[in-house]
Each structure stands twice: as structure tokens, then as C-alpha cells.
């Protein structure tokens, strides 16, 4: 098969072709390494590419196939890992100077599960520093670019992963969602991204931003691919106390079912209207109508406390991060500044943190330190936790009326690089619709629902389901995807113009 064809195929198709012997895992990996070589200079999705390790892992899959061993459903398929999953054979930087070059001595549980499944890790993806941001502009190593328009952001914090998948550098990506960091980049890149139920995917070896919110999840170009990856990374992990010991919801079967007839769909009244880009609202409204035409029963549902989700999030997440990021003190690993023999340990810690962390990380550490301080705890952190409970109750009440909730994933399409860097609040608003599910811990997905008529950029439809009902997300998303692809006549990403001509550079497009 031609290399171009290989990079354009879905993960499910690639796995099938490898299993049947139509192609080899090594050829698939090489095609993607070539694509990275060709386009990543412009996309900057990767912080680290590991050609040798990738080819070796692919070779092992081919050998297993040759030996007649059974292969998993994604064996031989390449993937890009957000640079906060620990990997023994690659650095793990979290997009931060403070961890530049750090090589972990252990693999994250998810890294181990990927390797066992025969998935080929191509490298590590760029991200906002310690997953704090919505654009990758907070990466210490420069922003990634949106393949739809290279002057725009690919979203964040898992923006490197979303950009790589969108640019056909990898069919699969892994990210983490704390306030929307999978769904928002998926939405603005026109791909699929899932935040599983909190505790459904292991956090062991995922460098923490906010422990009670961080949720690893898949990014892919199709709903089925996302479901296949979702299944591989899910399931109880005894190394993560917050990991749920329950069967993985049948997400792959649901993605294949792609049927919403009779499903009760609630439109969240609070997530729309003023402040939302008209083109986003237009596509969202069409998507809701589409669901109705496919047999879903649509009603409007009110979740009154969602209004307070963003401020509550910006107390809880910074509070946890102020503690989680304390360990980066230059004493044991990573950057160390000022250790000239004259300074105390405290001075070295202080200098290291001043030099090693970027502005947004420092801002959140300060916010969190303040919110947890004696005398302020009840008013800030305590109050935010109460709001969190109210938001979870809003979800509980809503899910008594409907099976899933829907909203736009983001209020706007991809914004321009540099547009919001001077205004943290406007940056924070990118996660307005995604934060409630992080606070409540339930499952949510973003699936493309077309291009905004006002700027021609992708719009995401967010579907939210109750805790451990992740399969419902895939039923809805797959139905929307199938109907829109059919209506359009070709996959959405064929319309992505940012890398037009990339084929001439790389010779494979």
C-alpha cells in the first residue's frame, strides 16, 4: 500500500490490514514517521519522536503475527502520547523547562497497556505546561499549530496530540482532560476526543495537574477508533486508588451500533446563547436537529449551577496543582538552578522554580496557594467543593430526565495564536462547556459537527453521559458522524487546508 494511503487510513483499518498481512506494522510506522518528518516542522505536534523505538515495537508486532500469535484490535497501530505519560524509553517533560530531559524510571499504567496491546508509540506530544492551558501556547517549547489553519491554535492542553492526529502524523493520540483538555482540542481540530468517566482510565504515571479531575482519554479521527483506544486504556488499576473496579462500559459495541432511536437527549439550557460564536451555535443547532431526525427525543434541560462551574474549577484545580507541583524543587530530578555551593536548599528550590515554571503555571500555583491558606480555605476551596457537589446534583437530576446531555464543546472555533495570551480569563472561557463534566466526574465526548459558516473552522458537539455510561457517548457520536459523513460525501478532515501542499514537501500527500 502507498505510504499516503497508510497515513490516511483509520486505526481500525490499519489494524485490519496489518492483521490480514496486506501491510506490515513496520511499513505503517515508517509511513507515519515520514509524515512527521514532512509536516511536523510546521505543525510542531511532537516534542520527541522515537523512530527507533517505534520501528522496533512495530517489528515485534510483525514478528508476533508471523508466529501466529493472536493480536489485539489495535496491534501495530501508531499513536502519539501526550508528554505527561511516563515512558522509560523517552523523556517526559510535561511541556516544562523544569522537567526538560527527564527520563522516568517507570512506565505509566497506560503506557504499559499500550505496549501490551502492540500499539506503536511514535513519540511524545506537545502540550500546555503541566496541562495548564487551552492552546499549547503555554508549552515551554513553543506552540503547536492547527492543521486547519497554521496561524491558529490546535486547542489545549492536549493540543500536540490533537494536531498530530489531525495532520495525519498519527491515527491515534492520548491526552488528559482536566477542564476540557481532550474535548476542546478535539473540537477545534475537527476530530474525536473522549473524557472517560473519572477513574475509568488509570492516572498512575500521568504527571498530575489536578488529581481529582485528571482523566486520560483517547483522541482519534473516527468515533470507532476512539472507542477502540478507550477500551485498551480502560479498566481497574490497583496502583491508582481512585481507579474504578468495575467492568469497562461496552464502548466499541456502542460505536458500531451508532443508533440513537428512542434515546432521550437533553440540550443544556445554560451552555449556549450570549458569548457563543454564531457559527458554532448554528452547527450545534443543526446537530441537535440531526439527532431528532435520527429518532432521538430532544428536550431542553436546565442545569442551573453550571454557571458557577468555571469559578469553582479555577479554585479546585489550582489548589490541587499548588500541592502537586511542589515536588518540582530541583532536589531530586529535573532542572536545578543556583546550586553553586553558597546557597541553601531553600534558595536553590526557589531559584529553580522561578526559572523552571512558566507564567501560567506560576499564576495557578499562586492562586491555589492562596485558596488553601489558613483563613481563606472555607471561603474558597471549601465553597468551591460545595459548588462541585451542586453541579454533580444538577447532572443527577438531568439524567433522571434524559439519557445524554448535549452542548457545543467550545464557545468558539480555534482562535489565533497570540490572540488570548495576554488575557487569561478569555483563555479560561474556552473550557466553559467542558468543565462541568470534569467537576462531576462523568463521561463526555466531542465529535465534529461540521464547519462554522462564519470562519470555516471545525465545530465540536459535546455529548455528556452519566458516570460509567461511557458507551452512550459512542452511540450518539457514531450516529452523528455517520450521518454527517454521508451528507458531506467525504470525511471532514479532507477539507482541512492548513497543510495543503505538504505532500510536495514530504512526498506523500
Amino acid at each position: 500500500m502507498a505510504p499516503t494511503e497508510l497515513t490516511r487510513m483509520t486505526a481500525a483499518e490499519l489494524a485490519g490490514a496489518i492483521a490480514s498481512g496486506e501491510t506490515s506494522a513496520v511499513d505503517v510506522t515508517q509511513a507515519h514517521l515520514n509524515r512527521i518528518e514532512a509536516v511536523d516542522g510546521r505543525v510542531h505536534a511532537f516534542l520527541h519522536v522515537a523512530p527507533e523505538a517505534a520501528v522496533a515495537a512495530a517489528g515485534a508486532v510483525d514478528a508476533r503475527r508471523a508466529a501466529g500469535e493472536p493480536l489485539g484490535p489495535l496491534a501495530g497501530v501508531p499513536l502519539v502520547l501526550k508528554d505527561l505519560f511516563t515512558t522509560t524509553d523517552m523523556p517526559t517533560t510535561c511541556g516544562s523547562r523544569i522537567l526538560e530531559g527527564w527520563r522516568p524510571p517507570y512506565d505509566a499504567t497506560i503506557t504499559t497497556r499500550l505496549r501490551r496491546a502492540g500499539i506503536v508509540i511514535l513519540g511524545k506530544a506537545n502540550m500546555d505546561e503541566f496541562a495548564m492551558g487551552s492552546s499549547t501556547e503555554n508549552s515551554a517549547f513553543g506552540p503547536s499549530h492547527n492543521p486547519w489553519d497554521l496561524s491558529r491554535v490546535p486547542g489545549g492542553s492536549s493540543g500536540g496530540s490533537s494536531a498530530a492526529v489531525t495532520a495525519f502524523e498519527a491515527p491515534l493520540g492520548l491526552g488528559t482532560d482536566t477542564g476540557g483538555s481532550i474535548r476542546q482540542p478535539a473540537a477545534v481540530c475537527g476530530i474525536v476526543g473522549t473524557k472517560p468517566t473519572y477513574g475509568g482510565s488509570s492516572r498512575y504515571g500521568v504527571v498530575a495537574f489536578a488529581s481529582s479531575l485528571d482523566t486520560p482519554g483517547p483522541l482519534a479521527r473516527t468515533v470507532l477508533d476512539a472507542a477502540l483506544l478507550h477500551e485498551v486504556i480502560s479498566g481497574h488499576d490497583p496502583c491508582d486508588s481512585t481507579s474504578i473496579d468495575a467492568p469497562v462500559p461496552p464502548v466499541v459495541a456502542a460505536a458500531r451500533q451508532a443508533d440513537v432511536s428512542g434515546l432521550r437527549v437533553g440540550v443544556v439550557a445554560e451552555l449556549g446563547g450570549e458569548g457563543y460564536q454564531p457559527g458554532v451555535l448554528a452547527r450545534f443547532t443543526e446537530a441537535v436537529e440531526l439527532l431528532e431526525s435520527l429518532g432521538a427525543k430532544v428536550t431542553e434541560v436546565s442545569c442551573p449551577h453550571f454557571t458557577y462551574a468555571l469559578p469553582a474549577y479555577y479554585l479546585i484545580a489550582p489548589s490541587e496543582c499548588s500541592s502537586n507541583l511542589a515536588r518540582f524543587d530541583g532536589m531530586r530530578y529535573g532542572l536545578r538552578v543556583g546550586d553553586d555551593g553558597t546557597r541553601s536548599a531553600e534558595e536553590v528550590m526557589s531559584l529553580t522554580r522561578a526559572a523552571g515554571f512558566g507564567a501560567e503555571v506560576k499564576r495557578r500555583i499562586m492562586l491555589g496557594t492562596y485558596a488553601l491558606s489558613s483563613g481563606y480555605y472555607d471561603a474558597y476551596y471549601g465553597k468551591a467543593q460545595q459548588v462541585r457537589t451542586l453541579i454533580a446534583r444538577d447532572f443527577d437530576a438531568a439524567f433522571e430526565q434524559v439519557d445524554v446531555l448535549v452542548s457545543p464543546t467550545t464557545p468558539t472555533t480555534a482562535f489565533a495564536i497570540g490572540e488570548r495570551t495576554d488575557d487569561p480569563i478569555s483563555m479560561y472561557l474556552a473550557d466553559l462547556c467542558t468543565i462541568p463534566s470534569d467537576l462531576a466526574g462523568n463521561a463526555a465526548i466531542s465529535v465534529p459537527c461540521g464547519l462554522a459558516p462564519d470562519d470555516g473552522l471545525p465545530v465540536g458537539l459535546q455529548v455528556m453521559a452519566p458516570v460509567l455510561a461511557d458507551d452512550r457517548l459512542y452511540r450518539v457520536a457514531a450516529a452523528v458522524e455517520a450521518a454527517l459523513d454521508q451528507r458531506r460525501g467525504h470525511p471532514l478532515l479532507d477539507d482541512a487546508k492548513g497543510l495543503k501542499g505538504a505532500g510536495k514537501v514530504g512526498g506523500d500527500d
Binding site: F85, T86, A208, S241, T242, R327, Y333, M349, L372
Partner: protein
């Protein structure tokens, strides 16, 4: 920073005018096989940084998983201290920066301790003092810093520091007392007695090896004083890391004397952390309350709440052993001892040894005599304590048995113990090897007796005249001739027969 040598008040005068209030915070390293939140070993004394993993090193991405046995041990301690056990509680993060803390926060418990509101009775001079227990909570230990090049061994003034993370993550239980008022001049003794009682209790529970010298039991002592009759409590100081029983008593005594002098001089006691100096028995100022850190406690989001079921708690309660106080009372009754006898046993550290000797078959009075008499003397001679003498209760019981059966007399028994202490083997092996069995063979004895009679005809005559007590002189001669190995009872019988026999 230099501190003027503290002025001290006379102790008796101080406690006559001021009422001390004490409080103790005791840290106990639990004797679990693995650490609190990972599978690393808790063995003491291993090569530095050899018992570590991503979790106890706090590496990015690592997560804690609570050790169920540590939670069980904490509940055991709580139940033994008459506490209520929380049906639901959480760990909390205590945030502060220090190089020996891998995550720069400590996983501890804050406002939701596992055990609350109990008590421990402590006996001082036949008076029982009930020490209230505020809380018992579970946390992880920190690593251990070694500061090289400074005069004090503390970080200030050191050239460089080394950190050993083997200790990081070892489960640590903190037992906090309520303030203990009303002990007057006995406050230092009560403090010491409390820690002793707590140590014995913890040992009986099998939850810790409670070795103060290895740091598995560590104490912070709070002391305050207020003018007698004032109805108020004074400002307290917290003396950190007072790490022997004797030091606890000294630290409280010193603080009472120091604080009394401060108040007498019109000054005010500063609420501060103080350090105990082993060499001088004094305390020196540390961090004051005004500089105290804000630990920014919040519930540990990486761990699920601890919710011990009532069934589990009852199971643990049912498995509790006999506590030291109850055991002491029982043994005292069984052995028929006075309070004074019992106190003597305890002060000599011989209670367990005697109990084990009795358990091995020796009569209680014999067991007590051996340990408090001969063996205490030997321990004194070599400057050690009874528990470290190289003789086991079973061996002492065997010697006692040999004496009771007449196979050994007191003198021979001491020689057998000499052999045991010298590592020559078991009592029976030493009896055989040294040929220490009593001579009760009539033939061998008669030869010695006839010799004795022949050498002391006037004594034989006295016996013949009816004064049989004089036989003692001849027994002495026989013993001398047999180098102490003669069966004195049998010798006496034979002597009486021999002198009255018609010749």
C-alpha cells in the same frame, strides 16, 4: 543566633508556686512489612536509598495506595487507647517544602483522624493518672537528612546535606494526648510514665518494635505553667524529638524550671518549638509561633476515604491481646506480690523475663530471685540490662528445675549460669561438660564423711551426745572435700547414721 543561657528557678520552689500542664505527641513507626503507600520494605538499617520506588520517592506521576495493615494497626492502637474509631475519614496533605520530603507534602490526617477521644491510665507511686487521648492518626514518615560539617548536626551551619529516603513512606502513627493538668511536682514523672506505658502497650499490640534509640518511637513534649490557683493555663512550649524516657522527664523538668524563671523575672513565655539537648539536659529555642508555617491542609485527592466497617473494627477489637496494666495486675495476683515487689520487678525491666521464666516452668519466686538477684548482679557487673544478657528465660527455668530436683545446689547453679553467660551451651550441656552434678552416690560420700569424722572426732562426739545441729560442721568439711558437689541432704543423713553406728 545565640541564646543566653536560660535562667532557671529551683524546681521544688517552682512547682510550689506554679501548676504545670503537660501534653505529649508521640510518633510511632508501625512494624508493617511494607511502607504506607507502596510495596517497599520497612527494614531498618539498609544501605541508604536502597528501599525506594517511584511512589515513596514521590516521582512525577506516581500515586499512593494505602496499606491496609497500617490502617488495621492504627485501629488496634485506637481501640487499646479506648478511642472511638471513625466510620469514615480521609487523609490530608500537609504542605511544606523540605528536601527530605519527596513530594514536598506529607500525607497525613488533619481534621478527620481515624481514632479520637480515648484515655490511658498511668500509675505513678501507686496513684493512677488518667491521661486523655485527643487523637490517633496515621501518616507517612519523611526521609532522613544528615547534615555534614555543622557543629549542631542541624541544617544551619552545615557544609552539605545527605538525604536517605529509605524511611520516607514508612507508616507513622501519631498519638496526641489532651493537656494533662493537676500532676504538680510529678509532671515530669507522669510524662515519662505515660510514654513508658504507651510503649509497653504498643509492644503488646505487636504493631511496632517501639525502639526509641532507632527512632521508631519519638516524642514531642508540650509544657506550660501557670501560677497556682490562677485558674488559667500558661503559654506552652513544644520540645521536639525527646528520644529517651529519661530525656522526657528531664525535658519537662527543665522547661518548668526555665518557664518559672521567665515568669518570676516578669517575662512572658514565648509559644515556640524548642530543641532538647541530650548532653546538657537543656532545651533551646527553635521556631516561634509567629514564624509558624501555614500547612495548607486539604483532603488528599489521590486516596479514597478510609471507611472501616463496624464488623472489621469488632474483629480487630476481639483480637486485642491482654494489655500490660491488666497483665501486671493478673501476674501480681498470681505471684502473690506486693505493689512494691511489682514495682521493683518493673523498674528492673524484669517483668517479661520473669513471666517467660514462669511460663517455662519455674516457680514464680524462684524466677524472680534469679532475675532480680544473681542475674541483675551480673548485668550490673558488665553494665548492660537484663534483656541483653545472653541467657534466656527457658535456660533460667531449667537451672531452677535442676536445683528443685536436687541435681544442683545453689553454688553449682551459679556455675552453670556462668557457663550459659559464657556461651558454653545449654544448662544440661554445661552440667555434663563441667561435671557439675551433685554427688549423692553413697560410696563416694561415705569416703569423704569418714575422713571428716576422723579429722573432727570431737564434733562426732557432740553429735552423738544429741546435738545433731553440729552435723553442719561435718557437712561443711564434706562439701569442701567434694568441691561443693555433694548432696548436702544425703550427706547429713549419712553423717548421722555413721556417727551413731556402733563401731
Amino acid at each position: 543566633m545565640t541564646e543566653l543561657v536560660a535562667e532557671l528557678a529551683d524546681y521544688d520552689d517552682a512547682v510550689a508556686r506554679y501548676e504545670p500542664v503537660i501534653g505529649l505527641e508521640t510518633h510511632v513507626e508501625l512494624g508493617t512489612v511494607t511502607k504506607m503507600f507502596c510495596g517497599c520494605s520497612t527494614v531498618f538499617g539498609a544501605e541508604p536509598n536502597s528501599l525506594v520506588c517511584p511512589v515513596c520517592l514521590g516521582l512525577p506521576g506516581s500515586l499512593p495506595v494505602a496499606n491496609r495493615t497500617a490502617i488495621e494497626y492504627t485501629i488496634r492502637i485506637g481501640l487499646a487507647l479506648n478511642c472511638s474509631i471513625a466510620s469514615w475519614c480521609r487523609f490530608a496533605r500537609k504542605n511544606y517544602f523540605y528536601p527530605d520530603m519527596p513530594k514536598d507534602f506529607q500525607i497525613s490526617q488533619y481534621d478527620e483522624p481515624l481514632c479520637t477521644d480515648g484515655w490511658l491510665d498511668v500509675t505513678v507511686d501507686e496513684n493512677v493518672v488518667r491521661v486523655g487521648i485527643e487523637r490517633v492518626h496515621l501518616e507517612e514518615d519523611t526521609g532522613k537528612s544528615l547534615h555534614i560539617g555543622g557543629a549542631t548536626g542541624r541544617i544551619h551551619g552545615a557544609d552539605y546535606s545527605l538525604v536517605d529516603y529509605n524511611r520516607a513512606g514508612i507508616p507513622l502513627v501519631e498519638v496526641v494526648t489532651k493537656p494533662v493538668p493537676g500532676t504538680g511536682a510529678f509532671a515530669p514523672v507522669v510524662a515519662r510514665a505515660y510514654v513508658t506505658e504507651l510503649r509497653d502497650l504498643l509492644r503488646s499490640l505487636g504493631v511496632s518494635d517501639v525502639r526509641m534509640e532507632e527512632g521508631s518511637l519519638r516524642c514531642d513534649v508540650n509544657t506550660s505553667i501557670a501560677p497556682r490557683g490562677s485558674g488559667t493555663w500558661g503559654t506552652r512550649t513544644e520540645t521536639k524529638n525527646v528520644n529517651s524516657l529519661r530525656s522526657i522527664e528531664r525535658a519537662v523538668r527543665f522547661e518548668i524550671e526555665r518557664q518559672a524563671a521567665v515568669l518570676d523575672g516578669g517575662g512572658r513565655v514565648v509559644q515556640e518549638t524548642r530543641h532538647f539537648q541530650e548532653d546538657t539536659g537543656t532545651t533551646t529555642a527553635g521556631r516561634s509561633k509567629e514564624e509558624a508555617q501555614d500547612y495548607r491542609y486539604f483532603p488528599e485527592p489521590d486516596l479514597v476515604p478510609v471507611a472501616p466497617s463496624p464488623e472489621w473494627v469488632e474483629q480487630i477489637r476481639a483480637s486485642l491481646p491482654e494489655f500490660p496494666a491488666a497483665r501486671r495486675a493478673r501476674l501480681q495476683r498470681e505471684w502473690g506480690l506486693s505493689e512494691l515487689d511489682m514495682a521493683a520487678l518493673q523498674n528492673a525491666g524484669a517483668l517479661d523475663l520473669v513471666a517467660e521464666t514462669v511460663a517455662a516452668g519455674a516457680p514464680p519466686d524462684q524466677a524472680r530471685n534469679w532475675w532480680l538477684g544473681e542475674l541483675s548482679r551480673r548485668a550490673n557487673e558488665v553494665g548492660t540490662d537484663l534483656t541483653t544478657l545472653p541467657v534466656t528465660p527457658a535456660q533460667v527455668a531449667r537451672v531452677s528445675e535442676l536445683v528443685a530436683s536436687g541435681a544442683l545446689n545453689a553454688k553449682l547453679a551459679r556455675q552453670v549460669l556462668d557457663g550459659v553467660l559464657a556461651g558454653e551451651g545449654s544448662p544440661d550441656e554445661i552440667v555434663a561438660a563441667r561435671g557439675l552434678a551433685i554427688v549423692s552416690d553413697d560410696g563416694a560420700l561415705l569416703a569423704a564423711i569418714d575422713q571428716a569424722i576422723a579429722a573432727n572426732p570431737e564434733v562426732a562426739e557432740t553429735i552423738r551426745s544429741g546435738k545433731t545441729a553440729a552435723a553442719g560442721v561435718l557437712i561443711g568439711a564434706v562439701m569442701k572435700a567434694t568441691r561443693g558437689q555433694a548432696d548436702a541432704g544425703r550427706a547429713r543423713e549419712l553423717i548421722l547414721e555413721r556417727v551413731t553406728e556402733p563401731s
